[in-house]
């Protein structure tokens, strides 16, 4: 493949809450095997040499497993390909002479920190609200001491693939965190070890997501289409079922006796 040249239309914003604007940067003579982030590195090198402020973007592992990279490329989180993160998007996916728009995620719960970097700690708060199980610490338990049906284990692994990148909420017209919450709730809720907190988990995680200002689900499934791990929106149906069931169970639960003399 021949090298190509493109124009990057990049969102530049000096800091949180400040006005931003798009700036065009030519990226010339790019090797098609370069990743999208490597292309930004090259552009940043040129900017640095010219004495300009380089484009800030979030990145870490650059192999699609950390969930740090978070670009909206031509209107779609993580770019034109399916099932890959921004770091696994390559220059060969674009055409010579193309104008490529690069934006940060645009949703109230993920405020822009600088240029293309957003603060996604809202997902950590949802995780902290219920994305855990309680186990005895100490020596390792015997392998296979708790039977787990093979299909449940596979399904739990599908949900556990979520890297928490936030593309689902960014792709959703309602900025809903449902696919993320669904993946977390399902991956623990499918396992025997996750049953003790199951009802409390789903109620707490959904309420926390609502409280952080994420929107609601209108079942358009843009989230699963944008997900770099192709997590299915079947988990959202499962989340809905779990939430409604937990609400009804909480309403009809018997209260334990109070301590005598209390």
């Amino acid at each position: 493949m021949k090298n190509i040249s493109v124009t990057l239309r990049v969102w530049r914003q000096a800091g949180p809450g400040q006005p931003g604007r798009f700036v065009d940067y030519p990226a010339r003579d790019l090797n098609p095997a370069m990743s999208f982030l490597e292309m930004l590195d090259v552009v940043n090198d040129e900017l640095t040499l010219k004495g300009e402020e380089p484009i800030a973007f979030a990145h870490d592992c650059r192999e699609g497993i950390c969930g740090t990279c978070s670009l909206v490329i031509n209107g779609k989180p993580h770019g034109p390909r399916q099932g890959v993160a921004s770091c696994q998007t390559y220059v060969r996916s674009f055409e010579d002479g193309q104008v490529i728009t690069v934006e940060p995620y645009r949703l109230r719960p993920f405020p822009v920190v600088k240029d293309l970097v957003t603060d996604r700690s809202a997902f950590d708060k949802i995780q902290q609200a219920g994305g855990f199980i309680t186990v005895r610490a100490g020596s390792a338990p015997n392998a296979n001491a708790i039977p787990v049906p093979k299909d449940d284990a596979e399904l739990a692994m599908d949900a556990a693939q979520c890297i928490g990148c936030g593309a689902c909420a960014a792709a959703c017209k309602n900025a809903s965190a449902m696919l993320f919450v669904a993946a977390r709730v399902s991956h623990l809720g499918l396992m025997p070890q996750g049953q003790a907190e199951r009802d409390r988990r789903v109620l707490a995680m959904v309420q926390t997501a609502d409280g952080l200002g994420f929107g609601s689900c209108t079942n358009q499934y843009e989230c699963s289409a944008a997900c770099p791990k192709l997590i299915s929106h079947d988990f959202i149906a499962r989340l809905n079922r779990d939430f409604i069931k937990a609400s009804f169970k909480a309403a009809f639960r018997s209260e334990p006796n109070r301590v005598v003399g209390d």
Partner: protein, 254 residues
Amino acid sequence: MTFLQHIFCTTIGRKFLMAVTGIVLIGFVVAHLVGNLQVFESPDRLNGYAHFLSSLGPVLWIERAGLLLCTVIHIWAAVVLTLESRRARGEQHDRTWIQATLASRYMRSTGFVVLAFIVYHLAQFTLGAAQAATYKENLPRYTMAGDYHVLGLTAVREGTVVPDVYSMVILGFQNTAVAVFYIVAVGLLALHLLHGAESLFQTLGWRNRRWSRGLRAVVTIACAAYFIGNLAIPGAVIAGILNPLPAAAASLRK
């Protein structure tokens, strides 16, 4: 949080309310259509049916109150969820749809048109506030030529004098503008249901990849059938297949 807070104050709870009220409203519009298709059988059938419904008294009012409550909850949840979601969304400059269906993108617009249609429909056929000249109370009464049965029991006896709903419907749709508005509105309602009827299964957690294609096919066929059924009545009036009773037509000419 109490149960009511879970249902009324969370996003999933409100979606649950929309799904449940949606089921009630779908049940109503389907039953309403099936009842009205009796217009194709005979004037006796439709007029007997209409008289039977209006003679239900308290049951009719309980049904109306239930439907009104469902409509109010459905619209309230939609408005609250929409406003919250708008607040959650930042302004994205470049935006592409990936796989959202056409029907799902226009739920709000189709919902508004359906609401406007319901208001006019009630004003026309239930209250007589619109097209008053052809309202059932202003047309000559109709004498039942035979018994009207419900579940094998006689509901309206032969010889009963009842309002002429049959002629009211046909005269109402002989106004082409009204018939076209009706057809457009039920078309948009069918589009609304195309997303809504499928979406409620997801909201209630009764959908997965294995049967989602079957679900979509069933919903699409049902919505198409619903639209064709609704198209048939004003369509047959405009085409001249259905005509008002001579007495009703004569009373208008005077």
